[in-house]
Subunit: 339 residues, 2 copies
DNA sequence: GATCTGGACTAGAGCGCTCTAGTTCTGGCT
DNA sequence: AGCCAGAACTAGAGCGCTCTAGTCCAGATC
C-alpha cells in the first residue's frame, strides 16, 4: 500500500479511499492510484482491512461438502451476499470435521453473521451460538428464538406430492421417511396430514433417508410386501432417495411409473435429466439464498433490532414422467376414460 | 485478549504464548489463562493473528461446489492441512463465480499456497498465478513449470479398464470420451494406447462427459448402432457418466453386464452402493489430498527451494458387478469353460 | 478583500494480535 | 555470599489496513 501511495504520489489514506470506493478522491487521482496498483500487482489485504474497520462485512457459512443441494444454495448465497456488499467465508462439514468445529473457525474469523446449511446442532448449541452472533438456519427449522430460520414448507411439499398422487387415482401411497435429518419430521407430518385429509388413503411409512442407498433399501422393503399390500405410489424423502428406489425396483422388473409412481423432493439437477425425469417437489435454492442473506443483512445493517426472520418458502410440484395413473390391478373398477 | 490477561493476572504476551501453544509459560499459568479465556468465552481473532505473524499458515483451495469428488478431496485436505498445522480457506467456483474470482479472494486473504481442484485455467493464467504464490493443481495436469501437479495416472487408469474388459473376452470396447475436461485428454490417450497394444481391439469413441446427462446421451448414440457394430463393453469417462449410460441402456431393455459391460472412473461413493455396484477405476482422494498438502508444505516450510512437486498416483481397478464376459453373440467361438 | 464552503487530501491513532529484546525470578554451583 | 543459567514473564514495536480529525486550497458570497 505504501508503495502504491508513493507511486501515485498520494498518501496511504487516499489509496484506502480509492480501494474502498468511498467518496473523497478526484476521478484523476482515482485512476492514478488504480494504475499504480495494477503496475505493482497490489491488492488490499482483506485480513488487515477487516481488522482495521469496525465491521468485517463477512458472513460465515457451514455446509456439507459434496452435498449437491448445498452447492446450489452456495451459488445463490455467493451472488446475494455480494449484492449486499458482504463477503462469504465457507467452512465445510465432513465426516471427520464436525459442524461445531466448522462454526468455531467462523467465529474466530469474526464473521458478523452465520448461515448454517442443514444444521444438525442441538437446541442448546444453537442457543449458545445465537447468543454470540446472528444466526440463520437454512433448510432446518429450530425452536430457538434467536435463530433465524429460512426453509421450504416441507409439510406443504409432501401434501403436494400426496395430493398429486391421489388425484392420479392412487390410494396406496407410501412415504419413504427421512427420519431425523433436516426437514424429516416436517415432511412426515405433511404426509400424515395429507393422508388423513384425503379420502381412501391409509398411512404406509417405509424407512428411507438422504441418499440413494436408503432409497435402495426402501425398495427392497417395498418388494418384500405382497402385491396386495404393496403401494402403487411412493413419496420419497428426497430426490436421491427416490432415484435409488427407482433403480432397484426397475432392476426387479417393475416399471416406473406403470407399476409404481414415484415423487421426489428438492428438484436437484439430476431430477431434470431427461432419462431420469423425476416428478418432484421443487425447493427454490435461489430464493432460500436470497432470504438467508436478507435475514442476516437486515439484522446487521438495520437500525432497528428486528427479530430474527422466520421465512417459509412454498415449494412447487414439478411433474415429469415418474408418476402416472395406477395400473388396472391397483384400481379396482375399470375406468371408461383410460384412452 | 486484554481482559483475559487481566483476569489471569498476566501480560497479553503470555496469553498469546499460551494460545499459540509455544513454550514459555508454566503449566500453572497456562491453565489459569485457559480458564480465564473459557470464562470470558474468548477465542483468538484469526485475522489479527495472521496479520501479526509473518506467516499466515493458510492454504487456499478452489473447488466446484456440489461436485462429489471435490467433496472427498476437501475432506482429505482438511485433515492433512490440520496435521501440517495449516488452516484451509475455501473459495467456491460456481456457474456464476469464476475460478479467477475464486483465486482472487484467496490472494487477498494472503494464503501462502493455493490448491486448485480440477482447474480449468489457461496456461497463461496459471503462469501468472504461480509467479505470485506456490500453486498445486490437483486432478488436472499442467505444463506450467512452476505449478505443482498432483493427479491420478489417468492414462494408466483407462489402460486398466480396457485390459480388464479385454481379459474378460471383450473385443469391441468403446470409450465414452470426456472431451476437454480435467483428465479428459490423458484418459483418451490411455484408451488409445491400450486398444493399440492389445490384440483384436479397434478404437470406438463415443462423446461422453462429466455427468449422467452426457452418459445418457452416449447411451442413445450406442443404441443407435446396429447390433453388429455395437460394442460389448464401454469404459466411461467417469462414474457419473457410466451411471447415466447404464440407466438409459437398461431402460431400453439391455442388461448390464449381460448385454454390455461398463466400467467407470473415480469410485465415487455411489459406485459402491450395492444396487449400483459399478466396476470402476478408483482415484484415491485421500492420497491426492495428502500429496497436495505435502507439495505445498514442502515448498513453504522447506529450507531448500525445492522444485514444484509432480506426483502421479496410480489408480486401482475395483471390480464389482457391472462387468462380465461378453454374451455368446459377441464371442465368435463358443468357449468350453463357460460354466 | 475578508469570509465561508466544500472537495481533495493527509497525519496518525487505532484494530488485536505476534514477536524480539528485554527483565525478573528461581535454584544450583562454586 | 556471589554468580550464573535458564525458565517465566513483560514491554512495546510492528503487521497492513481503517477512520477520525484534521489541513489546504479553489472558488463563491458579500
Amino acid at each position: 500500500m505504501e508503495h502504491v501511495a508513493a507511486r501515485a504520489g498520494v498518501s496511504r489514506a487516499l489509496v484506502s479511499i480509492v480501494f474502498r470506493g468511498v467518496p473523497g478522491a478526484s476521478e484523476a487521482t482515482r485512476e492514478r492510484v488504480l494504475a499504480a496498483a495494477r503496475e505493482l500487482d497490489y491488492r488490499p489485504d482483506t485480513r488487515a482491512s477487516r481488522l482495521g474497520s469496525s465491521r468485517t462485512r463477512t458472513l460465515g457459512v457451514t455446509f456439507s461438502v459434496g452435498h449437491a443441494f448445498h452447492g446450489d444454495l452456495l451459488e445463490s448465497l455467493y451472488t446475494h451476499a455480494d449484492a449486499a456488499a458482504y463477503e462469504l467465508v465457507l467452512s465445510g462439514v465432513t465426516p471427520s470435521r464436525s459442524e461445531e468445529a466448522a462454526v468455531e473457525t467462523l467465529l474466530a474469523e469474526r464473521c458478523e453473521g452465520i448461515v448454517l446449511l442443514g444444521s444438525s446442532q442441538s437446541t442448546a448449541q444453537l442457543t449458545r451460538l445465537a447468543g454470540r452472533v446472528p444466526v440463520v438456519s437454512v433448510l432446518r427449522p429450530s425452536s430457538v428464538e434467536d435463530v433465524g430460520v429460512v426453509r421450504t414448507d416441507d409439510g406443504a411439499g409432501l401434501r403436494l406430492a400426496v395430493e398429486h398422487l391421489r388425484s392420479l387415482g392412487h390410494t396406496r401411497i407410501a412415504l419413504l421417511d427421512g427420519g431425523r435429518t433436516a426437514g424429516g419430521a416436517e415432511r412426515r407430518r405433511g404426509y400424515r396430514t395429507a393422508v388423513r385429509r384425503l379420502p381412501a388413503l391409509s398411512e404406509i411409512v417405509l424407512p428411507g433417508g438422504l441418499s440413494e442407498l436408503e432409497g435402495a433399501a426402501a425398495a427392497l422393503a417395498f418388494l418384500d410386501l405382497s402385491p396386495r399390500e404393496r403401494p402403487s405410489a411412493v413419496a420419497a424423502f428426497n430426490d436421491r432417495c427416490a432415484i435409488g428406489f427407482i433403480d432397484v425396483v426397475r432392476q426387479h422388473g417393475l416399471r416406473v411409473p406403470d407399476d409404481v409412481s414415484v415423487v421426489g423432493f428438492d428438484d436437484i439437477t439430476e431430477a431434470g435429466y431427461p432419462h431420469v425425469a423425476l416428478t418432484t417437489v421443487r425447493q427454490d435454492a435461489e430464493q432460500l439464498g436470497v432470504e438467508a442473506v436478507r435475514a442476516l443483512a437486515d439484522r446487521l445493517d438495520g437500525s432497528a433490532a428486528t427479530a430474527p426472520a422466520r421465512v417459509v418458502i412454498q415449494p412447487e410440484l414439478v411433474v415429469r414422467s415418474s408418476t402416472a395413473r395406477p395400473s388396472e390391478v391397483e384400481s379396482p373398477r375399470p375406468r371408461p376414460d383410460l384412452s
